[in-house]
């Protein structure tokens, strides 16, 4: 994007932020910008009562870097407990820096006493392990970030 245009948009957003407006729309030279403030009840700066999710939402942070670095997430398809190895004594399935092949088991999710193997979908290098061994995970949570090779 033209840096001048970008700056202009930033200015407008800033203006809007400082205003009491709920909605804002502007069209100029082929660019239409629409801003809206709301979703008050679930705003981030909400007071003490807000739920503190028990499970760290590392996904949010990581998914930003991911886009920048072309990282592919491996997510859990079920709720359960994350294990890096098949037993406490065993060596982990994978560690950061390892190359994994498609269909290779990367971890286990225990759900209702059953051990479910989670597999990589494509070949790549484990860039980041996002959950600690033995920690609970929720549906859809990102477990690993993989850099395609």
């Amino acid at each position: 994007m033209d840096p001048k245009v970008k700056e202009e948009i930033e200015n407008i957003i800033d203006l809007f932020k400082r205003s009491n407006l709920g909605e804002f729309e502007i069209e100029k030279e082929g660019i239409r910008l629409r801003l809206r403030k709301d979703i008050p009840a679930i705003s981030v700066e909400s007071t003490g009562t807000a739920a503190k999710p028990a499970i760290e939402k590392e996904t949010e942070k990581s998914e930003k870097t991911e886009t920048e670095e072309d990282l592919i997430p491996i997510k859990t398809p079920m709720v359960g407990t994350f294990y890096q190895a098949s037993s406490p004594e065993a060596t982990p399935f994978v560690e950061e820096g390892d190359i994994v092949e498609a269909e290779q088991v990367v971890c286990i999710i225990e759900a209702m006493k059953l051990m479910n193997e989670i597999k990589a979908e494509t070949r790549g290098r484990i860039a980041k392990i996002l959950v600690e061994d033995g920690h609970p995970v929720e549906y859809g949570q990102t477990l690993f970030l993989v850099k395609a090779e």
């Binding site: 008050p40 679930i42 503190k52 028990a54 079920m78 709720v79």
Partner: protein
Amino acid sequence: MFSKILIANRGEIALRIIRACRELGIGTVAIYSEADVNSLHVRFADESICIGPPPSSSSYLSIPNIISAAEVMDVEAIHPGYGFLAENAHFAEVCESCGIRFVGPTPENIRAMGDKIEARKLMKKAGIPVIPGSEGVVKNKEEALSIVKKIGYPVMIKAAAGGGGKGMRIAHNDVSLANAFLTARTEAEASFGNPELYIEKCIQDPRHIEFQILADKFGKIIHLGERECTIQRRYQKLIEESPSSAVDKKLRKKMGDSALRAAKTIKYMSAGTVEFLLDREGHFYFMEMNTRIQVEHSVTEMVTGIDLVKEQIRLAQGDKLRYHQDLIKLNGWAIECRINAEDPENDFLPTPGEINICQFPGGPGIRVDSHIYPSFYIQPFYDSLLAKLIAHGADREEAIARMQRALTEFEISGVKTTIPFHSTVLNNPLFIRGKFSTGFIDRIWSVKAKSEEA
């Protein structure tokens, strides 16, 4: 006291249970589908965990995901709310086998009342009046025809595994009976995976009267008076009251005793509801027992002052029931309107979408149970209940006046809701005089629709 409970539900009932837990000092875990990440039940719970994608079948109905969530979150009990898994005996069993308390009745209780044909037989044996009809399953339309010869038209064909009006058809003659029988069977099979049907005589202009039960595991059992749920549309309750203008002290005693007997017959434990039909002559008939907390429990709370969800949790803990039948009194009158995201002018079609303005009524005698807020998005995946608006007054007249007043204050914009529909009913002279039966809405609302077309 439990230290932590998982709430296996969403919407207003999840919030209702969280409120009860907070007041009892019990920690709460909300579960949610990906569609509900911004829900109030997630916000107000102490902890929360995503358990699946938007469709209920993969989230709020997924027993493995819910049990896993309960295990990783280390809860002592699961409250199922209503709908979803609330009356699933298998789920209650899985909970118990995993060492998690199910906040509700025993799996046996659920099974006993879940099969409507078996329940009907049990009740009849216990001396509770049931609607005249087939002894058990009606296998084919020939058998249906022979039964109707005995009891006469009109008749109601019902599903053995039924509930919520599904697999239910009315027949007025032999021709419609044959058709109705087949469609009911198809619907029952599709809805419940069980095509079994039975037949009951149609009660003319009945009223729907149900009794709230509380029972502990030591065999102590009481009822908290009746609720009237006669204002329905296609078997969906829309307005409920407690007490009922059709029930006097003598009838309350008689029906209450039958409700207690029904619950005792199956050694019921927890909060539950025994539903009856009441005919024009004051005869009543057992219809079914709901083995869960119901949407309309709130009107009973208003007139008895008893918090039913808290009691349900206490009973699940194994506490003794704290109340005695002769100390239960109904103070004043309570009415509940279910505010749904449905378009009353367009055959009550659901209206998913984003809520813009959302302004609740307030003041004396008004209670709102709702999970919505400005900019809340109504998902198309789940039911359309947005809010329960409850009015309590010293008598029915005051409760109606308060409800009328509160409906004018209640503003929801962005989607159509049933608020205008409720205003129409609450101002209907027959409703105000307490003169109605279950056909009331179909009558007044279709007339209204027609007169507007003209």
